[in-house]
């Protein structure tokens, strides 16, 4: 049996619903239909009354989640696409994210954002918004890159007493497979050394981890050992693991699929530069998507985001190869 990233998200929700009567799911078409991506398929049947179809009202969807959380429930909100969370933005950043700090009452909400680019999806069905949410206090932002993490981190997200922005990458939904679901997991907030290497640290998260691994493979054939760090969550950001890796390699390249101004790559580099300056044998480098909306056409889309090709070039450059 083989499990996709998408299956893992469905299984995690099934388990969360089974384990805890306080958990429910609310989102457009999540009920009998099973969701636009089928991430909730059959859940409405197995958990009657706990997988609820929402109207096209993202603001009210999030407001409702906060009210339910105040009453002790643990809602999972599915946005049909991450891009539409902009309509719920106010309730996320000003209502959910401030509740505990203002009142001591926890706000355990999981907001699932089907994120990231896929060919042919265009400017409004491709966005990666992790950096926007991570800037705000009061939110945890997860960016799982593997089937195992998709599963265990979603369970963690539901268990955490704070609003969690769970960025699930649509490109990984079907492309990524695992043999079985994990039985244990790394704690949230810890980055993973996905591939060890001595020559350079390549920091990535979400779908970019796989581009990073491809590049590491490629350069390995040329005798260069790249260490790939998967951040797993961008807030909290595991500076220690990144720093420890840079301490070993002396070189840092950071990857992000979102826009270049600010965001994850800026934050990672700023932290290493301020706290680990002397560990660097060369200027740290970053690679992001281009500073335009995400294009529709495959030709443009492939050129808009970092690819194994552009990453390899940046890596060679950094390694003076």
């Amino acid at each position: 049996m083989s499990i996709t990233y998408l299956d893992a998200i469905r299984e995690a929700q099934a388990r969360a619903l089974a384990q805890d009567p306080k958990v429910f799911i609310y989102g457009q078409d999540v009920g009998a239909f099973g969701g636009a991506f089928k991430a909730t398929r059959n859940l409405a049947q197995h958990f009657p009354g706990r997988v609820i179809d929402a109207p096209i009202s993202e603001d009210a969807m999030l407001g409702l989640a906060v009210g339910a959380a105040i009453e002790g429930l643990r809602p999972i909100i599915e946005m049909q696409f991450a891009d539409f969370s902009t309509v719920a933005f106010n309730q996320i950043v000003n209502q959910a994210a401030t509740l505990h700090w203002r009142t001591r009452v926890p706000c355990p909400i999981t907001i699932r954002l089907p994120s990231g680019g896929t060919s042919g999806s265009g400017p409004f069905h491709s966005q990666s918004l992790e950096s926007v949410y991570a800037h705000y206090p009061g939110l945890v932002v997860m960016t799982p890159a593997t089937v195992e993490d998709a599963y265990s981190m979603l369970l963690e997200a539901v268990a955490i007493d704070d609003p969690v922005i769970y960025c699930e990458h649509k490109y990984l939904y079907y492309h990524l497979k695992a043999e079985q679901l994990p039985t244990e997991a790394m704690p949230v907030g810890k980055a993973r050394i996905t591939r060890p290497g001595r020559d350079m640290t390549l920091v990535a998260y979400s779908a970019m981890v796989h581009e990073a691994l491809a590049v590491a493979e490629e350069l390995a054939t040329e005798g260069t050992e790249i260490e790939v760090v998967d951040l797993r969550s961008v807030k909290p950001l595991d500076t220690d693991t990144v720093m420890a890796s840079v301490a070993r390699t002396g070189r840092l390249l950071c990857l992000g699929e979102s826009w270049p101004w600010g965001g994850v790559t800026a934050e990672v580099i700023a932290r290493v530069a301020t706290e680990g300056f002397d560990l660097l044998d060369a200027p740290p480098q970053r690679l992001n998507a281009k500073d335009t909306p995400v294009p529709y056409h495959p030709n443009l889309w492939a050129a808009h985001r970092p690819t194994a090709r552009s990453i390899a070039a940046a890596a060679r450059n950094l390694l003076r190869l």
Binding site: F24, G49, R50, A54, P55, S57, E58, D59, A60, M61, L62, G63, L64, A65, V66, G67, A68, A69, I70, E71, G72, L73, P75, N90, Q91, N94, Q95, A97, T98, L99, H100, W101, R102, T103, V105, P106, C107, P137, G138, V140, I160, D161, D162, V188, G189, K235, P236, L237, T239, R271
Partner: protein, 343 residues
Amino acid sequence: MVHTLVDRGAVGEVAMMRELYLKGYRLMLLARVLDDKFASLYRMGKIHGGVFLGRGQEALSVAIGLALRNTDIFAPLIRDRAGRLAFGEPLLDSVRTYLGSVLGPMRARDGNVHYGRPREGLLPMISHLGAMISVVNGALLARRMKGVPESVGATCIGDGATSTGAFHEALNQAAIERLPLVLVIANNHYAYSTPNERQFACASLLDKAAGYGVRGEAIDGTDLRSCLEAAEQAVRRARDGGGPQLIVAELLRLCGHGEHDDASYVEARLKAAPCGRDCLKVAEDYLQDQKWASSSELAAWRMLAATQIEETVAKVQREPGPDPYREDWCALASKHLSEGHNT
């Protein structure tokens, strides 16, 4: 606080209404005197930031608070001092919040009208208008899911807030789920300086009810009795499974938007109109007409309210403000996930 006007014959009815009306009046009075106190503290520079009063809206607000049980849910807005007190909020909460006492419900992290006790069903507003309605929906849905006997949730908004997308999404959401929501629109004819004509084009805000498939009632927000009856009925209907109830009350804000505002834009014709009456005076006249209270009693009650407030303010003024060095500066409940990366 339960106040179902069960029919035990006219006499019982009248007796109950008298009791309820008196209770309502005294809470209105307390709220009014408290608001006056906040206004003077503001003028004396004793309050940080803005001060927002409910003057002229006490009858409506108190009626909502009284119609609810303390096990219900209430999300007051900026002009609901009276409703808060009626719902059972301690006088201390508003005083501590306005004076920035660290002992207040928001620990001086938030201020003025932004306070509450979520654990006790009293939801603290965020500033963004319309945003609290769907939060009430969520609390009500949660209780239904948990199987707690249907509790009611009430929230108040102004005429201006009806223009927000949040209002629309939330009222529609409540209607779809047939939630026991009582949504009270206080049409005080202005949103800050903006008059109704620049806020909506329907003949009456009540016309919105049908578009959501909810029951609506229009009332005179300056008349305590109409407010008490309408609120009680709306809450009962909601509790009995009648779905969301909309109340539209006509009244006037008898103060500035905030105490910094002289409200010179308020039209004389409105001040002269029925909606411009002071609900407190209306109630006092009614009490005396009905021989439910004498002018001396009224005076005594006002004294009492003033003393109670002076004592509370004096006490709170001796309380400490927050100490930044004692703050954990952590927004998360999950401390272990905090970055501590705070500079």
